[in-house]
């Protein structure tokens, strides 16, 4: 056990050092955080300043605990502390590294005790490890979480050259094992998403663990550290900073480590963040989460492609590379397939092609090609569509909505690039809008897109499937802030949308009716007596006495409910809906009423 002057001796009853360096750290960090908040310091500066305070305190603590060791052992910060973006109450992630030669193992153990106990005694949450240089590399090669944290290793005190050497070796090993690391990293991301859900769609999101959360942001850095691909910057960094700002606001409100934005603190955190409505805060988090998730997907794709092409030194891969030149195939006007990605054809002038965004989206959805970030940027420079839309634009939209297997990915890409709102300005009102009903699992906008995807499974209904998909895409468009009856409010928006798109009057009228009545079948089925002729009559009035609209409403009801979540479409509910639908259908057929508009 080391004495206060840094000498070591055997035994477990050694004097515990007076924890001068960290004794008041908890209070000092909180006071500094409050001051920085009061002064309105930007989040990045605040986090950096707080991290620096902790690092300085830990350096002073090292000097006391080790007696000023500068050779053979070092203290390093890892994780968020290493990156300089720890929250005001975040755990202290530290590692004691030694070279395995200068200090005996008992001396290392004693030093560790003298380092960790005063930190615990000071009431700080500590995440620690103590490893030799060899052990650091071994752990980093086996434990993905540890490796991710160690990539951010920041020397604090002691033998800083040793810490730098450890960091360099970790990076070197990380790059060498890129082929193994990549699937591990992505599997971990998927497992987190499965366990914690997607940040963009949760009413109580876990800002760290959810898909699109802070761990995915770290994964981005991990991917780029493989040197297989670069990670995007700009929007995704802003998104990450916003999520961290919210996390910090949660911690400041609760006075402890917490990464979940619970419903019970929503209003206070929203106010601290300058949002008047907690739903606006959730919407901003949804945007940030989507941005991070999309960036991770794109970076992953880039890394995979790089692996496939280079084989990182593999002769077999190099041979394949020589054998296969990149494919460049024209897939639509102005668009080419470049090794599985959709890109702008050389010489095509996007600035003169208003149809290009919809054509690109339709092509991506029908072929499964990924729209490159460069093409997305180019699409933003395309002129607006003329009003009413030309027939080709409507056909591209129909093609896009038919591409159910790839629709979600394509929609995410074009929506994040601002292309959806440009074509459909009403989308802005429902974009990232949270739904507080427990049956809903998605935001309003994502729910509508999910319902369109489910239309592919409603083929048994003999209906106009393009009408069904188009209606599903906008069926909740009235769920905007301040809406009283979203069915009525949404229906009121349809004539404007239909006129802009240049839809035929009959189709526009059917869409308006279906949006207004999209809850009628489910409501009547669960709250009215299906044996009462009055109930059937109310349903028939709602669909204007038309069999085709009744069938479309039945399909729409199912897609809408299934997209909401499993609780919204139980066997119980389906049976009630089906019973009423069958009765109404029988009455219409008996009457011999109109079948189509």
């Amino acid at each position: 056990m080391p004495s206060r002057n840094g000498q070591f001796h055997e035994g477990s009853d050694a004097e515990v050092p007076h924890p001068e360096g960290v004794r008041d750290l908890k209070r000092l960090r909180r006071d500094l955080a409050e001051t920085l908040y009061r002064e309105g310091a930007p989040g990045k500066h605040r986090r950096r300043t707080l991290s620096d305070l902790v690092v300085q305190a830990l350096a002073a603590h090292w000097d006391e605990a080790s007696g000023g060791i500068v050779e053979g052992a070092a203290l390093g910060a890892v994780g968020s502390l290493g990156r300089g973006d720890a929250g005001p109450f975040s755990d202290l992630d530290v590692v004691l590294i030694h070279d395995g030669r200068t200090l005996k193992s008992t001396e290392v153990a004693d030093l560790a005790q003298r380092l960790w106990y005063p930190i615990w005694d000071a009431g700080l949450e500590l995440d620690y490890s103590s490893r030799s240089l060899t052990e650091v590399r071994q752990v980093a090669s086996k434990d993905l979480a540890a490796a991710s944290g160690l990539l951010d290793l920041r020397p604090i005190a002691g033998d800083k050259e040793l810490a730098k050497q450890a960091r360099a070796l970790i990076y070197q090993d990380w790059r060498a094992a890129a082929r193994k690391r990549l699937p591990e990293l992505l599997a971990a991301s998927r497992a987190r998403a499965e366990r914690h859900g997607e940040l963009a769609y949760l009413i109580e999101p876990n800002l760290k663990e959810s898909r699109g959360g802070l761990r995915d942001l770290v994964s981005l850095t991990g991917l780029s550290a493989t040197w297989l691909t670069d990670r995007p910057h700009g929007a995704v960094d802003d998104a990450g900073a916003h999520v961290m700002d919210v996390r910090d606001a949660i911690q400041m409100h609760l006075g402890r480590t917490q990464n979940v934005l619970g419903r019970h603190i929503g209003e206070e955190v929203a106010e601290a963040m300058g949002f008047g409505d907690p739903d606006d805060l959730l919407a901003s988090l949804a945007e940030a989460g989507r941005e991070i998730a999309y960036a991770l997907d794109m970076t992953e794709r880039g890394a995979r492609r790089s692996l496939e092409r280079s084989g990182v030194g593999s002769r077999a891969f190099l041979a394949r590379r020589r054998a296969r030149a990149p494919r460049h195939t024209v897939v639509a006007e102005g668009l080419i397939d470049v090794d599985g990605e959709l890109a702008l054809a050389p010489g095509h002038d996007a600035a003169k092609d208003a149809l290009l965004p919809l054509r690109a989206a339709a092509t991506a959805a029908t072929t499964g090609l990924t729209i490159t970030p460069t093409l997305l940027e180019t699409l933003q420079r395309c002129p607006d569509l003329p009003v009413p839309w030309p027939p080709e634009a409507r056909e591209y939209l129909r093609e896009l909505l038919r591409g159910s297997a790839h629709l979600i990915a394509v929609w995410e890409a074009i929506d994040l690039a601002g292309l959806v709102v440009r074509a459909l300005p009403e989308w802005e009102g429902v974009r990232n809008r949270p739904q507080r009903s427990p049956i809903h699992r998605f935001t309003v906008d994502r729910h509508m897109v999910e319902s369109v995807v489910l239309a592919a499974k409603a083929r048994r209904y003999e209906v106009d499937h393009d009408l069904l998909r188009l209606t599903l895409l906008v069926h909740d468009i009235g769920k905007r802030p301040g809406a009283t009856d979203h069915s009525v409010d949404g229906a009121a928006l349809i004539p404007g949308i239909a006129a802009r798109m240049g839809l035929e009057e009959g189709i526009a009228a059917d869409m308006e009716l279906l949006v207004r009545q999209h809850l009628t079948l489910a409501d009547l089925a669960t709250t009215a007596d299906p044996d009462d002729p009055e109930t059937v009559e109310r349903l028939l009035v709602a669909v204007d006495g038309r069999l085709d609209l009744l069938d479309t409403l039945r399909a729409l009801t199912e897609c809408d409910a299934k997209a909401a979540g499993p609780k919204a479409w139980t066997q119980w509910r389906e049976q009630l809906v089906q019973t009423l639908y069958v009765k109404a259908r029988a009455v219409l057929i008996e009457k011999g009423g109109p079948t189509g508009g």
Binding site: T526, T570, W572, R573, Q575
Partner: protein, 112 residues
């Protein structure tokens, strides 16, 4: 204390809830249920084909009440749920040894 359980037609839930509130009942548990009674399900015709609906959707209500209130609550449910048709459902009452309110730890009638 008694547990009053009712299986009723789904479309009578709102009426029954209103009747229970009028009878002073403060809380009720509602869940989806499916089953059959003497009617043994029924036959539906859809697109020309007959299919049998074996298990009919119902709604299950559960209410904990004081012994003295059990008859009143049962009557309120029966009156509100009744349409006079087959499949209106059932209500039954069983004794309850004890009840605990999780939040406060209260037991017995205090926890109702």
């Amino acid at each position: 204390m008694k547990l009053v359980t009712a299986i009723i037609q789904p479309h009578r839930v709102d009426e029954v809830r209103a009747a229970l509130e009028a009878a002073g009942v403060k809380g009720v548990t509602v869940s989806e249920a499916a089953g059959y009674g003497r009617q043994k399900g029924h036959t539906e015709v859809y697109r020309g084909a007959e299919y049998t609906v074996d298990l009919v959707p119902k709604t299950r209500l559960e209410v904990l009440v004081d012994d003295a209130d059990a008859a009143t609550v049962t009557e309120a449910i029966v009156s509100a749920a009744q349409t006079g048709k087959i499949g209106d459902g059932k209500v039954w009452v069983v004794p309850v040894d004890d009840v605990a309110r999780v939040r406060t730890g209260e037991h017995g009638a205090d926890a109702l």
